[in-house]
Structure formats: C-alpha cells, structure tokens
Amino acid sequence: MLKSDEDSDDEVYFANMPDFGDHVDNAIFSQILEMDESDHERDFSEPLVINFFEQAQDTFEKMDQALASRDLNELSTLGHFLKGSSATLGFNKIRDSCQVVQQYGHKLTVDGVSEPDENVCLKKIAEALQAAKVDTAELEKQMKKFFGAE
C-alpha cells in the first residue's frame, strides 16, 4: 500500500512551492495549485486565495461582533464556517484556531469536554480569534509574495 507512484506528480508541485512552514498543509495546497492551467498564470488558485482572505476578514469582523454580544452560538457557526474553507485550502494554523472557536462556542474544550463557564469560553475564543488574525495576516503576506513572485 505504499503510494510512491501516486505521489509522484504531486512532488512536482511540492518542488515549486515555497515553504509556508506549519501554516500550510503542502499536500492539500498543492492539490489546489494543481488545478491551475499553468504554473505561471495561477488563475484558479490566486483568486481563490484572495477570496479566502476576504472571507477570513469578513468572518473575523463578524466574530468580533459576536464576541462583543457574547453570542456563543454565532461564534461556533462562524468558527465552523471558516474552519471549512481554511481546511480546504490546507491553512492548518487558521483551521486549528477556528476549531477552538467552534468548540468553545459549543461550550466544549478542544477535547470535547464540557466547559460550562461562559467567561472561560469567551476568553478562549478571544485568544483563538487573536491568534487566527495574526496567523492570517502572516500567511497573507507570504501568499502575496508567492503569487506576486510568480
């Protein structure tokens, strides 16, 4: 069940990819890049990634509002939403923070243990949101560089 032969065409893309560190799951992101017609005109991935950052920005704003009105349900929904797209693009760090937001929005810890204290939940969400914003900003910079350089 070794998949060496299957992976071979991915490796081409791996080779073309800069190292995004633990921000990005290379296997997944390369799958996105693979859908571009050519490596020079990233007409699929580039707008997609730009789109993602818009979506992230939008979601963060909504999260800030929900956080201000202590709306855990809304936070959980928003967390899940952004988790979905960040996971799809392989943006792991953002995905993980969104997971935290989603879980605590359900009054659960990351391990699924009940956390009845709303204040604790809101605090954890605020922390995760902050981390997500920082990671997103950092990743956006890297991505711009990546797409700009090509």
Partner: protein, 846 residues
C-alpha cells in the same frame, strides 16, 4: 542494786529484757546508731543467724547479708526507720523480697526520752501470699500473673470449661474495650460476628481445641463498641493434674498487618496490570514499524533483483513475518492477561470460516499431506458471535497441525455439540497424523511460553503462546479447549468448543447485514485498482455525468468545482444549503448521478437534506463530506440515508476512488428503479398487500445493491443496448399501468426524455454487471464460500457462476470465480423471471 540492775536474780515482775526475748514476733533491738543490741529468741529461730553474727552488727549490713535484697528493697527498710525516727511513731516498711521466695516487712518503733532517741525496736513480719485473684484450681505463679496482667499488646485470658470468661488482662481491656467486671462470667462468643455465630464457630473452636489441644484462627472479632478488628486467636486447652480446667485464649490485633497485606496485594496487581499494559503498548508500537518494514520488503521483492539479493530479501521477509507473528501473539496474550480483551458480537458463518482457514493453510502444505473437512449437516449456517476470534483459534490449531505434520492427513470436523433455546455449542476438532505429543508434555500444552520442543535445535518456531491464547479465547467464547492423542495412528487431536447465539429473527440478520455492508463501505470496499487508471476510466464517463454539489462555503465550492473539473466533470450543479438541494433534487428526481453533500450548513444541514431526499423515494447516491470526521460520524451519515462519505479537506485520490465506486461500479440507481419495476410486474399476480410489501422491500434493498466492477467494460452489442432501452420503456409502461406503487416517476416530459436519452447513451456500456446480491439474500442465508476442490462434501456446494451471471450480461460470465450468494428463493426465481423478460424482450426486437 547493782545485782538487781545487772539482772541475774528473779525480780518481782518479769524483766523487760525477758519479755523482749519472749515476744512472739521476731524482733531486733537497735541502738540509735542502728546497731543490733539484742535479738529475740523468735528472731534467732526464724532468721537463724549465729548470735555473734547478729548482736553488735550494723542493721543494714546484717539484713544485706541475711536476705540479700535488692538495693531498692533495702531502701524500703531505711526509709521506714528514717520516717519512724522523724515522726517519732511506728512505721511499717514495704515488703522486702528476698532470694528465698520469702518476703518480710519491718515494723519500726522508735523509743525517745525527751528529744533523745534511746533505742529502736524492729519487729519482722513474714509475708504470706494471699492470692485472691486466681480462681480455685487455676492458681498460678505471682510473677507469671503480673506478666500476664501487665501485657498490653495481647489480650490474654482464661475461659472455664464451658467457654465463660474467667480472667481479663490489660491487653484484653485495651483491645476489646470491655472492663474486667463487665466481661468476666460472660461467654467468649460475644467477640464473634454474626456470621461466625451462625456457623457455630466459637463452639467448634473449643471442640477442635479439646481434640487437638490448641486451635488457631484468623478473622474479624468485634469490640464492645461494635467496631471490628482482624484478629489472630490462639486457644489452648488448660489442664491441671490431668483434669481439664478451662482454656487459655490469646488474641492479637492484626488489622494493621492485614491492611498492609492487602496494600501489598493491590500494589502487586497494579504492577501486573502495568506490566501487561506496557507489553500491549510496546507490542503495538513495535507492530507499526514492523508493518512498514514488511511492506517495504514486499515492494523490494517486486523489483528486479539478482538471485542472491532475492534470497536475502526473502530471508528478511520471512523473518519479519515470524517476528510479526510473535509480536501479535504477545500482544494478544498481554491483552488477555490484562483483561482488556473483548469479544465482539457479529455474524459468523462457521462453514465459510472453516473453509477459508483450511484453504489458507492448505496452500502452505506439501502435497504429501491432504486435508479432509467434515461439516456436520446440523451446523447452522449463520450464528452470532465473534468471527475473528473463532477464526484465530481455528487458524492456530490448524496451523499447528500443519506445522507438525509432514505426511498423512489433517482432518477438520465441525458440528453442533449441544443446542439450547438460544445458543449453539459448536465443537471443532482437528485431527492430524503428525509427530504427536509426548504424554509428559500434554499437561503443560496450554501453559503460556511452553513449547514441548524444548530441544536446543528448536526445529519448530514460535513463542509457545499460541495454544494458551487459543485457550483464553475459547474460554472467553464460553467454551473450552483440549487435546487427546490420535487413537487411530500417530498424531494428535485438538478440539475446542465455542458458544454462539442463535439468530432469532429476520430483522436481526438484516440489522447485521446492513452493518456488515456499512462496515465494508467506503474504505474497505474501495476499489484497489490504482488511482491513475481509475481516473482515466472516470474521465471517460465524466463528461456525461451530472453532479450536484451541496456546499455553503464559497471557497469550498470553488475548490470542489475545480477538483471536479480537473477530473473531467462538466455538469455540476450547485446548492448552497440543504433545503436548496432538496428542492433541486425533488424537481428533477433523475437528473443527478451523484450528490456531494456537506453536512454542516445553514438553513438545512446535510443529514436532514439526505433524509428528505430519501423520504421522497429518490435513490440517487449521496456522498457526505465532513471535516474532522470523528468515529461515528460516518455511521451517522449512513443512518441518514447517505451512501458514502469523504473526509474534508477532500483528498483528490480519495475523491477519485469514491466517485469511481459510485459512478463506475455501482449499478445506476435509475436502473435499479427499472429493475424493481420488472420485479414488481412479475408480482402482479400477488395480492395488493403482498405487492406493497415487496415494493417496500425492493426499494429498501436497492439502496445497497452493489455491482461488481465492470471488467473489460468492452463495447456492448447494439442488441444489448436496445435491450436496455426496451427494458427502460417497459418499465415506464409498468409505471403508468400501476399507480398504486409508490415510487418516484419523472415529473415532466422533458425529464422523461432526459432519462431515456441517458439510458441509450454509451455510459451504460458495462451493461448490468453481475449483481453481487449481497443484500438480496438477507432473508435466508449468509454467504457460504465453498469451493469444490476443498470440500466436495461441504453443504451449500458451489453456486455456479452462470446462475449469478444470468442476471447480468453474458460477457461477464468469466468474472465470477466464486459465487458468494445463495439466493433467497423468491427473489431468485424473480431474478430469473426478470431475466427471462429481459431476454424475451430482446428476441422480440428485430
């Protein structure tokens, strides 16, 4: 006067000195300086000193000489004299013990004239023991009595002949909480608990004690306040001059020791468990890289190697396999030992397990050994139990037989040993003509880590754990295991029994079956063909497949669309929530070939949407897509009517496999629909209620009907295609003629055309691949895998490939090597009816 004063002559009244001499008390007259000036006759008689050793001597020195008292006791005397002088009154000293088991007290009388001390008289009283504390007949020595009295750590007391308490010491008081006056005279059984009293333990103890002289016991005893302590009790029969006078009882409090013991035991058990857990964990950790190594070896063997290299890799591979077996054994054993081994409950086809074990072992045997397999006719085809564990035991025993048998035969026999209302005890017996087992080794066969081949050459490999694991497993399955020598010739017979539950109802089977199918769902039943060729095949049909993607997140939509486009799919409809999707599917029930469904969506989630689609009777395959799938998520998806599942983020290869499975291998749901119509038509002679039942059944079953991979997939002949076409139109005819059957019909003419045009398109080319009717047999039988060469006498025998293939296309008749499907008779006959219709229709066409 001098004469008078000097004594000698008889005076008118007795001389004072004479009176002193005649005193009945032994007396000494002392000077103020404590020197003896006179001793009475009685004194000399009692103490028996020589007169010169007495008179004129210093008192203390004299007493010291005579009595040899301890300094403490001599001090009693000086204290008494000092006190008497100081108080000018008589004083009696404390008892002065002597070495001669006699003790004395001195009464001291000082004589004063004015302030001048003239003389001191000491009168000596011999002390007699007046031992009022010891019962008559039980008198004991003072020292011993004090000792017993003073001991605090032991309760020591005497019982009379009937068991009533006669004495009580400090230890007893401290230990049992009773004071002496409370307890003396009571029966000693008050110290016992109810349970002991009920079993007449106190009486029995005295009885045993009378017989054996003593009895010792450990157990709970009770204090006055009702609390209990763990006691060690020794009762000894006491005799005086050969007459039984009572019992001596010594009780020790062992509560501390007892709890220390239990702590030790607990610690031991804990460490045992830790050890087992450690073993289990380690074995597991070792196994993982081991698998990696073995896979690498297997790959290496597939490359071009020189014969020498091949030999070496072969050795690596073989050793790896042996090591893996050893690790698996240890893992099982440690799991069994730590009690963390569980037996699963599943459906078991005993015949198929026996057959497959025999077949796999047979492959490793030299031709000089032949297998015989006897499956008793009363052996149930399917029962409930743990198929894997049954297989493991059987494999171990059959494997052993194969290992130790070089020529002759190995016979496997399985049958029902006994049967009760809800279970079977299945006996499986393996007889070989191998080297047999020496009598001495037979006893330790099932002991862990023993192998009877303990010779240094170690001709036979293994951990020696196999049989002990088999034993534990058999016991876990409610059975047992055993060995006896082969009576016919050299060799051995190993047998084991296992209890299996009967399968009570049809529902139960269906429940199991559907679980089996689910279990075998996406990953296990995933086509193993490599992704590249799957992708090619998929690309061939992709352009005419119509997909519905249900996904709320724009980013995910785009990525999925991109992925699907890259695979060649051009017609992909989009819905951004469940409710939209349901509306789209309802308005065009036959439009989509597959639906890819996100689960967590606003307005209506994927579960609800799938349920709504199924409730509308639409059988289109629905594949769930969820992020971070947890265990159980998959099952939830399947429960809500979805057919398969892709974890998010979607992996392209996984997507290819799932799409290939549902678009290439599974029978088109619209065709299942047509088939149902055919079947229903042939049931038209049935009563309406029966028909309704059949319709329900078919609809339910068709959800999971699978088709085998269309091998070859070569072009169908034109007549085949027209058969399909004809078939299709027939079914529509049926539809319109029978409105009572509740199935979904295309809603518009346009839709109808769409369906028809699809039907005649080349994408149906692997026409009706042989249906692996896994679900259709659920009323009666579970797959029975028997091949003719192994078990010509096994029941069920072989189902001819044609029988199955007749439902499909003739081109595929070669694909079914082993049929796995005894058919449900009504469906079977229906199948042939349908088939007849099929062919009949074909001949009708020009």
């Amino acid at each position: 006067m001098a004469d008078f004063a000097g004594g000698g002559t008889a005076p008118a009244h007795p001389d004072l000195g004479l009176l002193f001499d005649l005193s009945p008390l032994p007396s000494l007259l002392l000077s103020p300086s404590w020197r003896i000036t006179r001793a009475s006759a009685r004194f000399l008689e009692e103490w028996n000193p020589s007169p010169e050793a007495c008179v004129g001597q210093e008192l203390l020195a004299f007493v010291q000489n005579q009595l040899s008292p301890s300094p403490v006791h001599l001090k009693f005397l000086t204290t008494a004299i000092d006190d008497a002088i100081a108080l000018r009154t008589e004083r009696t000293s404390m008892l002065i013990n002597t070495r001669r088991s006699v003790s004395w007290r001195a009464r001291v009388i000082p004589y004063f004239k004015g302030d001048e001390l003239l003389a001191i008289v000491t009168e000596w009283q011999k002390n007699l023991f007046t031992d009022d504390e010891v019962q008559p007949g039980l008198s004991t020595d003072e020292a011993f009595r004090i000792l017993v009295q003073a001991v605090k750590d032991y309760a020591i007391f005497l019982l009379d002949t009937t068991g009533n308490i006669a004495t009580w010491n400090t230890g007893a008081e401290l230990l049992k909480g009773y004071r002496r006056d409370e307890i003396v005279g009571k029966h000693f059984s008050v110290f016992y608990g109810k349970e002991d009293l009920d079993s007449k333990k106190p009486e029995m103890e005295l009885e045993i004690c009378m017989r054996d002289g003593r009895v010792e016991d450990e157990g709970w005893r009770y204090r006055k306040d009702g609390s209990r302590f763990w006691a060690n009790v020794v009762i000894t029969a006491v005799y005086k001059n050969g007459v039984h006078v009572g019992f001596g009882k010594v009780t020790r409090d062992l509560t501390e020791r007892k709890s220390a013991e239990s702590r030790l035991i607990a610690a031991y058990e804990e460490s045992e468990k830790l050890k087992s857990d450690f073993l289990a964990n380690m074995s597991h950790e070792i196994r993982t890289p081991m698998h990696g190594m073995l896979s690498a070896c297997a790959l290496l063997l597939d490359t071009s190697l020189s014969s020498r290299q091949r030999d070496i890799v072969g050795i690596m591979d073989e050793s790896g396999q042996v090591l893996l077996q050893v690790i698996n054994d240890i893992l099982d054993y440690s799991k069994l030992a730590s009690g963390s081994f569980s037996i699963h409950s599943d459906i078991v086809g005993i015949t198929s397990i026996v057959t497959s074990v025999v077949r796999s072992v047979q492959a490793t045997l030299p031709p000089s050994v032949h297998f015989e397999m006897f499956l008793a006719p009363d052996l149930p085809r399917s029962v409930q139990g743990d198929p894997l564990r049954y297989r493991q035991i059987l494999h171990n025993i059959v494997g052993n037989a194969a290992k130790f048998t070089e020529k002759g035969s190995i016979r496997v026999r399985a049958g029902v040993q006994r049967e009760d209302h809800d279970s079977y005890m299945v006996m499986t017996e393996v007889t070989d003509t191998g080297i047999g087992i020496p009598e001495a080794a037979a006893a330790s066969l099932f002991t862990p880590f023993t192998q009877f081949d303990a010779t240094t050459t170690k001709q036979y490999k293994g951990t020696g754990l196999g049989l002990s694991i088999a034993k534990s497993l058999a016991e876990l399955m409610g059975g047992s295991i055993g060995y006896r020598p082969n009576p016919e010739r050299h060799g051995s017979i190993f047998w084991f029994t296992a209890r299996f539950k009967k399968i009570k109802s049809l529902e139960q089977i269906q429940d199991w079956k559907s679980r089996l199918v689910r279990k075998g769902g996406a990953i296990l039943a995933m086509p193993e063909a490599d992704v590249v060729s799957l992708r090619q095949k998929l690309a061939e049909v992709a352009s005419i497949k119509s997909l519905l993607l249900v996904e709320d997140n724009v980013i995910n939509q785009k990525v999925m669309l991109g992925l699907l486009r890259s695979l060649g799919f051009k017609i992909t409809a989009l819905a951004s929530n469940g409710s939209e999707a349901v509306n789209m599917v309802r308005s065009k029930p036959a439009a989509y070939d597959i639906i890819l469904m996100d689960i967590n969506m606003p307005i209506m989630d994927g579960h609800q949407a799938s349920k709504a689609i199924r409730d509308a009777g639409i059988l289109v395959p629905i594949v769930a897509m969820t992020a971070y799938a947890l265990k159980g998520d998959r099952e939830r998806c399947l429960e809500h009517g979805m057919n398969d599942y892709i974890p998010k983020p979607v992996d392209k290869k996984y997507l290819i496999k799932v799409l290939a499975k549902w678009l290439l291998q599974m029978k088109d749901y619209r065709k299942i629909f047509d088939e149902q119509m055919n079947k229903l038509r042939s049931y038209e002679s049935l009563t309406p209620s029966a028909r309704g039942h059949v319709a329900d059944r078919l609809q339910q079953l068709s959800l999971t009907v699978q088709g085998e991979e269309g091998e070859g997939g070569g072009a169908a002949t034109p007549s085949d295609r027209s058969v399909e076409h004809k078939d299709q139109s027939d079914s529509h005819g049926a539809q319109s003629s029978d409105d009572t059957i509740n199935v979904v019909k295309p809603t518009s003419q346009e839709e109808h055309q769409h369906t028809s045009s699809m039907v005649s398109s080349p994408r149906f080319e692997p026409l009706l691949p042989p249906v692996q009717l896994e679900m259709l047999d659920s009323t009666q039988d579970i797959g029975l895998m028997v091949t003719g060469d192994i078990a010509p006498n096994a029941r069920g025998s072989q189902i001819s490939a044609e029988a199955v293939d007749s439902g499909g296309d003739t081109e595929n008749s070669t694909s079914g090597t082993t049929a796995t499907t005894p058919l449900d008779p009504p469906l079977d006959s229906d199948k042939s009816t349908a088939d007849t219709t099929h062919r009949g229709a074909a001949t009708l066409l020009p």
